[in-house]
């Protein structure tokens, strides 16, 4: 598996490329800050993450040389992102879907932690008639 030296000769990128990427990154930073002050509901998160992903891609491809290095490193990098995505999405299959049959199963009994109570940190007791599970199926 030893590769020849020539194959791994220093791959020097032009200075202008680095400076250009750096400039784009800084411009995108200002863009994302500016957009965050405009409200379009749920899309704010999408746009912010999209811009962050573009910035991350630029850093990975040029600063980290993924564009020029062995594809194996790209696979490793994308693998990390893929498994992180699996972790988030599969956990959300549970945490976002608990109300599929009964609403009452989705919410905590007490929304706020006990430390926000003025009275005591004691155990909660809910009177029986105050909980009416929503049995709509």
């Amino acid at each position: 598996m030893s590769a020849s030296k020539a194959e791994h000769a220093n791959h020097v990128l032009p200075l202008r490329l680095y400076l250009a990427v750096g400039a784009v990154l800084i411009v995108l930073t200002f863009v994302t800050v500016a957009i965050s002050f405009i409200h379009f509901g749920g899309w704010n998160l999408v746009v912010a993450l999209l811009i962050a992903s573009v910035k991350a891609t630029l850093v990975a491809l040029f600063f980290m040389h993924l564009k020029y290095d062995s594809k194996l490193y790209l696979i490793v990098f994308l693998g990390a992102i893929l498994f992180l995505a699996i972790f988030i999405v599969f956990t959300m299959f549970d945490t976002m879907e608990r109300d599929q049959i009964y609403q009452i199963e989705a919410k905590p009994i007490r929304e706020n932690a006990a430390m926000y109570d003025d009275s005591s940190r004691g155990m909660h007791s809910v009177p029986h008639d105050s909980i009416q599970p929503d049995s709509s199926q």
């Binding site: 598996m1 194996l72 693998g79 990390a80 498994f83 699996i86 972790f87 599969f90 956990t91 299959f93 549970d94 945490t95 976002m96 879907e97 608990r98 599929q100 049959i101 199963e105 905590p108 929304e111 706020n112 932690a113 006990a114 430390m115 940190r121």
Partner: protein, 537 residues
């Protein structure tokens, strides 16, 4: 005899000499032996706790300990066996020793990192065992919140230990992946790799991908105890089921960290002792990778009764069944490898066959637990305890012992007693089944796990299981005795006592410090028993 003794003097075992040369060694073979010492100590310690647990359960009511001690015992048994023995067991001890030899390399890619990971292992072990004197944790090895955030035992020392051990595991994983990618000898192409290497490769992928999540999970648990951060503790607004997602995202793939290298060993052994080309090489190799990747998608099957959403349960159950298929394929391939072979029942093969039987039972009982409605009944009962031990002990530990007996002559240059080793194998096989098979019945009849005391109707089965554990324990003591005996009095072994074709058997037994005088050239596959006339010597 003088010539063989000089062979020993030239081997990695005696060259260079002195304790310091061992503690500062960068030789993967010595680090493998250091790990072997560490994990063997851990295994016997964990086994000792297991014997005490079984003794306590011989009959209902408190006998030799109280409930608090009992709870600490099963926590220590679980944590020691998982984090200190089974996870590092095959990769770090046997894998470290064999991997570079199999590749035709002089060492692993990062020898210093390799030694560091052993020291990290020792430090982690110290933290985990420190909890022994500081009021051992009583949470079970799963550390479920909010019990683990409320109990006043030393949970932090135990979790910190497991956290540190995680780094050891990660470094071993990184080292192995790089070694396999970059240090193969000329001609050692991917499909000429021994299947044990494929097993280690798949294992290393899981180690690298999953272990960091264990790290952050345990860190969050410690922070929850210290600051009440409100992620896992419901009293602080957290969600205890989320902890279970975090924990099993690591710990389910972790059971494949434990079993995949074991499967690799069995693939080697069945082929070598059947003196026959392995059946379905690519199927076994790819199924290792397949298992490794799909193992990340099934963690929720530990949580069917936890209150997770029905949709999540459905998805996890479905994927769980899919991960069973590649394991089944492997078993069929091993059986078919024996077809038209020339089978000799040496001790390693006996252990490998024990694995085949016990792992099949372990795998099949997994189907019960993957089926949603049946799992509702069986979850958290002795059925799960039995299934887990069939896979982990009947599977991984048997494979580890099989591998240890297979490579023992290579590691130490000496042979162990044939009679005693076969006797120990019989004792372990019988004792294991006596201990754990009845636990399936206990479980289906409704005996919950982690019970200090139990109803009278379960007494006969519990007593039977305890008696079985004595036979099992005896088997292990016999094994320890003849192995230690062989180190001093065992007959010297030739370079290739089993007539195997993989590269480690082309070196002297034990190998010299840099493995190969010249970088070997690979001309045939690892299982070409149909082309090469290989003799035992």
């Amino acid at each position: 005899m003088s010539s063989t003794d000089s062979a020993l003097d030239l081997s990695f075992l005696r060259h260079p000499k002195g304790l310091k040369s061992w503690l500062l060694t960068l030789d993967h073979k010595r680090i493998g032996v250091l790990y072997l010492v560490g994990i063997t100590t851990a295994a016997f310690l964990g086994g000792f706790f297991a014997m005490l647990i079984r003794l306590e359960l011989f009959r209902p009511g408190p006998d030799i300990m109280g409930p608090d001690t009992y709870n600490q015992m099963f926590t220590l048994h679980g944590a020691i066996m998982i984090f200190l023995f089974i996870i590092p067991g095959i990769p770090a001890a046997l894998g470290n020793f064999v991997l570079p030899l199999m590749l035709g390399a002089k060492d692993v890619a990062f020898p210093r990192l390799n030694l560091a990971s052993w020291y990290i292992y020792v430090i982690g072990a110290c933290f985990a065992l420190y909890s022994l004197i500081s009021g051992a944790a009583d949470t079970g090895w799963t550390f479920y919140t909010p019990y683990s955030t409320q109990t006043n035992t030393s949970v932090i020392s135990m979790t910190l230990g497991a956290f540190i051990l995680g780094f050891s595991s990660i470094f071993t994983g990184i080292n192995f992946i790089v070694t396999i990618h970059r240090l193969r000898a000329p001609g050692q192409t991917w499909f000429k790799l021994p299947l044990f290497v494929w097993g280690l490769y798949a294992t290393a992928i899981i180690q690298v991908l999953a272990t960091p999540v264990l790290g952050i999970t345990l860190a969050l648990l410690m922070l929850e105890r210290l600051f009440g951060i409100g992620i896992f503790d419901p009293a602080m607004g957290g969600d205890p089921v989320l902890f279970q997602h975090f924990f099993w995202f690591y710990s389910h793939p972790a059971v494949y960290i434990m079993i995949l290298p074991g499967m690799g060993i069995i693939s080697e052994l069945i082929s070598v002792f059947s003196h026959k080309k392995i059946f379905g090489y690519k199927a076994i190799a790819y199924s290792s990778l397949g298992i490794a990747l799909v193992s990340f998608l099934v963690w929720g099957h530990h949580m069917f009764t936890s209150g997770q959403s029905e949709i999540a349960a459905m998805i996890f159950s479905f994927l769980t069944f899919l991960v069973g298929i590649p394991s089944g394929i492997k078993v069929f391939n091993w059986v078919m490898t024996m077809y038209k072979g020339s089978i000799s029942l040496d001790t390693p093969m006996l252990y490998a066959l024990s694995f085949l039987v016990l792992f099949t039972i372990g795998g099949l009982t997994g189907i019960f637990l993957g089926a949603l409605s049946v799992d509702i009944h069986l979850h958290d009962t002795y059925f799960v305890v039995a299934h887990f031990h069939y896979v982990m002990m009947g599977g991984t530990v048997m494979a580890f012992i099989a591998g240890l007996h297979y490579w023992w002559p290579k590691m130490f240059g000496r042979k162990y007693s044939v009679f005693w080793s076969k006797l120990a194998c019989a004792l372990i096989f019988i004792g294991f089944n006596a201990t754990f098979f009845v636990q399936f019945i206990l479980g289906t009849r409704g005996m919950p796990g982690r019970y200090f005391d139990y109803r009278d109707q379960f007494q006969q089965l519990h007593a039977f299981s305890t008696v079985g554990s004595w036979i099992l324990g005896l088997g292990f003591i016999v094994m320890l005795a003849y192995l230690i005996h062989s180190l001093y009095r065992g007959k010297r072994s030739g370079p290739n006592p089993w007539g195997a074709l993989t590269l480690e058997w082309t070196t002297p037994s034990p190998p010299p410090p840099y493995n190969f005088a010249e970088t070997p050239k690979i001309i045939h596959g690892p299982y070409d028993y149909d082309k090469i006339d290989v003799q035992r010597d």
